[in-house]
Amino acid sequence: MTTIHLNGQDREVDAPDDMPLLWAIRDVLGFTGTKYGCGMGLCGACTMHMDGAPIRSCVTPISAAAGKKITTIEALGKEKVGKAVQEAWVKVGVPQCGYCQCGQVMSATALLTRNPSPNEEEIETSMAGNICRCGTYNRIKTAINTASESLNGGAK
């Protein structure tokens, strides 16, 4: 039994210590917004925030999350930056199939929280771990800039 602080609430998870956080949250706790893509930390579809930092939950055992603050896509809209990123994604029309986009949004939110006005290189570096097979990368860049502008009151 592991206790994690998920989206503002303490949750007890009855799962073996080595179960990745991804499966614990999806299968045991029933929050399905976070997606499985590779199981090796290669694609970023499973990105969550642990104590504010983006992590790949498919390779993070639940035991490593004990007592940590975990934020998943389900609660991201409650945060100012997360909400701005989600709105920018919709405005710009980023999603195609949408499957990877929760992970993209989590990574973009972590970036803008840390760096409110990233340049193109910083965007590419921060988003390098998130694959989009539909190839929405150019719009992802545009949406990050759009969110950045809205968070900075119109100026990037």
């Binding site: 299968d27 893509g37 090796m40 994604w89 195609q96 949408g98 990877c100 097979r133 150019n138 719009r139």
Partner: protein
């Protein structure tokens, strides 16, 4: 007496929304029950949507329901996999019926082709087959609403008009919201047939307009969108399957003693595999069923399986590449012949030959195959991200021995499809496990490794081209031999030749003004499951043809653009039959000729917008390609730089598409953007290779797909107006074929290095 609408007032789709997918607060609603027919000429041979199993439907009662609060439910029957079709088709209905998009909701149809018409979401044909039926549907609903309002106000119907979710009677300055009219409509007796008139296109609010309206974007970025693996049910079991690593291999024996010791594992069970050719059926293996996905994965790791030997054990990609290239250097089955190529070659001032190779690639949608099934109370229900729900349902019904009406397949969002999810194998696996756990939902989850090792791979091919140039540098003879294992090998025993639909994807049907043409297809056998990958055979054919033309331009000492336009010749509409294209993407050859003027036009637009011929910074090069497929015309110009260490930077991509009338421009643009990135990916790193019969790659570390840094630094897509009235073309696929050749032509311009073997990999280092 005609039935009143109220006779059919039902709780809207209540039955379809039952189950695990949460209902979105539907109130009571009204179903339209129109049963009017439209006189339609029946051509001898059916084309387009009518030529598809189930045909098309436009009956409003299938697609539109008005809720008591005035909100509209629009049912979409095609699968959403990123092309935006759920939104685009619903927007067509909403526009024609004068509904406000903000008050519309999209409902996904269950798989039922007898009811809804064809639901196979493939071949880039959803919009071109369903635009007219959906327009007709929307216009009919508007006619009903207007007639009902007029009857309620006791005024002539010609004096009222629907506008923005209301009906207006200008003369009496009355206006009623659709919500206020629900009661009126319910008691209204519609004339039979009701006369409908379409909106003047100038009054369209959504059709052809620039907007990013989406039924799904907001839920996709907030984690509430439901994909194949997001179905929840108490007591659900989770399975992964160990599958034979080689085509035709089967389980010889297995030892599940360690697997059963893994905490959470409930059962280890064989899944019967179909013999080769296995079609869309599972290839068999051993399923590990557990209380959660992780336990199933751990259980499978502890499982020991002995696999039987197979005739395909010796499949080895490097040896196969040599066989392909050798086969392509010798004459093969004649597909098309014009004039006398041999004579042209012997008289030529110059001849040129090149052989190209393209490997297998895997679809690798971000959502690997996954599906859920439950068998309870003599009823089978499935939730699956499928491109072909009817086929999956039919197969599932047979597996459980139930009639079709005792089965239901719910189509979830697809986390990417690209052709992979047309096959029902992963759905049938869930059904088999559901049979072993009656009353409990059973999910089969494919891991990424499963996905890449057991795909229906894009074919592997050798493409050999030879051409002659006359004294003026014009192409006088053209020989193209394409050798590739055919998709039909998944259905038929050991076929050796490409089918017509494969040759007609850019091999036989090249429309060039060349007097002597010879198209051949030497034989080769398949040793892996081959399937449709977005754009299909257009990828190898387009790559070879467009690379070769650039090589010929060089041989002729001419600018590639001028050379290409010359090769196209005068603008003309060619009967596809003349190009040995009897398939023509299933479309009427009279309505869909191959139009060289449209090819010229997109190429001119793309090259002009890209600044073709301008001076580029040192180390950069520009290349183009243009390709006709899925009855659309697409040109791409790429500007690249190769750094000293071989690192490739795509600075700029410029694309132009003529897909005929445009319904949702932003989604056309997004498909071109995505096609560009996918094309760059397959050109640079896309390869699944085989050793001892098994795929060597397994996950994104060794099967690399583009990341953000490989996307073009800038990208523009130009939606080209056709110069004449033409029919709707495809959008989802035709953007891919020109990208790899445009990229390699650009690399040649930048470095002088000609790439004839994909992927590029480390060839630039």
């Amino acid at each position: 007496m005609r039935p009143k609408f109220s006779d059919f007032s039902l709780v809207n789709h209540g039955i379809d929304r039952r189950g695990f997918i949460k209902s979105v607060g539907a109130s009571g609603a009204l179903l339209f029950t129109a049963n009017w027919t439209w006189a339609q000429e029946k051509p001898a041979k059916k084309y387009g949507g009518e030529g598809m199993p189930g045909g098309t439907k436009s009956d409003p009662k299938l697609f539109v329901a008005i809720n008591h609060d005035g909100t509209i439910d629009i049912t979409v029957t095609r699968s959403e996999m990123g092309q935006g079709i759920r939104s685009s088709l619903a927007l067509v209905v909403a526009d024609e019926m004068e509904a406000d998009w903000e008050r519309c909701r999209v409902v996904q149809a269950v798989g039922d082709e007898a009811k809804y018409g064809n639901q196979n979401t493939d071949g880039s044909r959803s919009m071109r087959h369903w635009y007219e039926p959906m327009r007709q549907c929307g216009a009919t609903v508007r006619a009903i609403i207007e007639a009902a309002a007029a009857a309620g106000w006791n005024v002539p119907v010609r004096e009222v008009r629907a506008s923005k979710h209301s009906v207006i009677h200008a003369l009496s300055r009355r206006k009623a919201d659709f919500a206020e009219l629900v009661g009126v409509i319910a008691s209204f007796e519609a004339p039979d047939p009701i006369s409908i008139r379409y909106k003047n296109p100038r009054t369209y609010r959504y059709i052809g307009k620039e907007h990013t309206h989406s039924a799904d974007a907001a839920s996709m970025v907030s984690g509430t969108a439901i994909y194949g693996g997001d179905i929840r049910s108490a007591g659900m079991v989770y399975a992964v399957v160990a599958r034979p690593p080689v085509l035709g291999s089967r389980v010889e024996s297995f030892d599940d003693s360690e697997a059963l010791k893994v905490k959470g594992v409930l059962k280890v069970m064989p899944i019967e595999g179909a013999a080769v050719p296995s079609g869309f059926k599972p290839i068999g293996g051993i399923a590990v069923v557990a209380e959660n996905t992780w336990s199933a994965i751990k259980g499978r790791e502890a499982l020991k399986v002995e696999w039987s030997s197979s005739p395909h054990d010796s499949y080895e990609s490097e040896a196969y590449r040599q066989r392909l290239e050798e086969a392509s250097s010798n004459p093969g089955k004649l597909v098309r012949s014009v004039g006398d190529v041999e004579a042209a070659f012997s008289k030529a001032k110059k001849t040129h030959a090149a052989t190209y190779y393209l490997p297998h690639i895997a679809h690798a949608p971000m959502e690997p195959p996954v599906s859920t099934a439950i068998l309870r109370n003599n009823f089978l229900e499935i939730w699956a991200p499928t491109q072909a729900p009817q086929a999956a349902r039919t197969e599932a019904a047979e597996r459980v021995g139930l009639p079709l009406e005792k089965t239901r397949i719910n189509v979830t969002l697809l986390g990417g499809g690209f052709g992979r999810k047309s096959k029902a194998d992963f759905i049938s696996e869930a059904v088999e496990i559901a049979k072993a756990f009656p009353g409990r939902a059973a999910r089969v989850q494919w891991t990424r490794e499963d996905d890449i090792r057991h795909d229906y791979y894009h074919t592997v091919s050798g493409e050999h081209l030879e051409a002659s140039l006359d004294r003026r540098g014009k192409v006088s003879g053209w020989l193209h031999r394409s050798v590739a294992p055919t998709i039909s090998s998944i259905f038929n025993q050991d076929p050796k030749h490409q089918q017509e639909f494969e040759s007609n994807m850019g091999h036989s049907n090249v429309p060039f003004a060349i007097p002597n043409v010879r198209i051949e297809n030497p034989e080769i056998a398949a040793h892996a499951r081959i399937g449709w990958f977005r754009s299909v055979s257009n990828i190898p054919h387009g790559f070879a043809v467009q690379s070769f033309i650039a090589e010929l331009a060089e041989e002729a000492g001419k600018d590639p653009l001028r050379f290409y336009l010359d090769l196209l010749g005068d603008d003309r509409e060619i009967n596809p039959g003349e190009l040995k294209d009897g398939w023509n993407h299933g479309e009427d050859p009279k309505k869909y000729p191959v139009d060289t003027g449209r090819l010229r036009n997109v190429l001119n637009v793309a090259t002009k917008e890209a600044g073709w011929g301008k001076r580029l910074p040192k180390g950069r090069g520009m290349g183009f390609a243009v390709h006709y497929s899925f009855v659309s015309y697409v040109a791409a110009v790429l500007e690249v730089e190769v750094e000293k260490d071989g690192n490739l930077i795509v600075h700029k991509a410029t694309m132009a598409i003529d897909c005929g009338p445009r319904i949702n421009p932003d989604r056309i643009r997004s498909q071109m953007e995505g096609s560009c990135v996918m094309g760059i990916g397959l050109a640079t790193t896309g390869e699944v290779s085989f050793e001892n019969g098994s795929a060597k790659q397994s996950n994104f570390h060794d099967y690399q797909v583009p990341r953000i840094s490989l996307a073009p630094k800038s990208m523009s897509v130009h939606l080209v107006d056709p110069e004449k009235k033409v029919e709707l073309g495809g959008v989802g696929e035709p953007g891919v074929p020109p990208i790899a050749p445009a990229l390699c032509n650009a690399i040649y311009a930048a470095t002088g290095k000609r790439i004839r073997r994909l992927p590029i990999g480390d060839q630039l280092a």
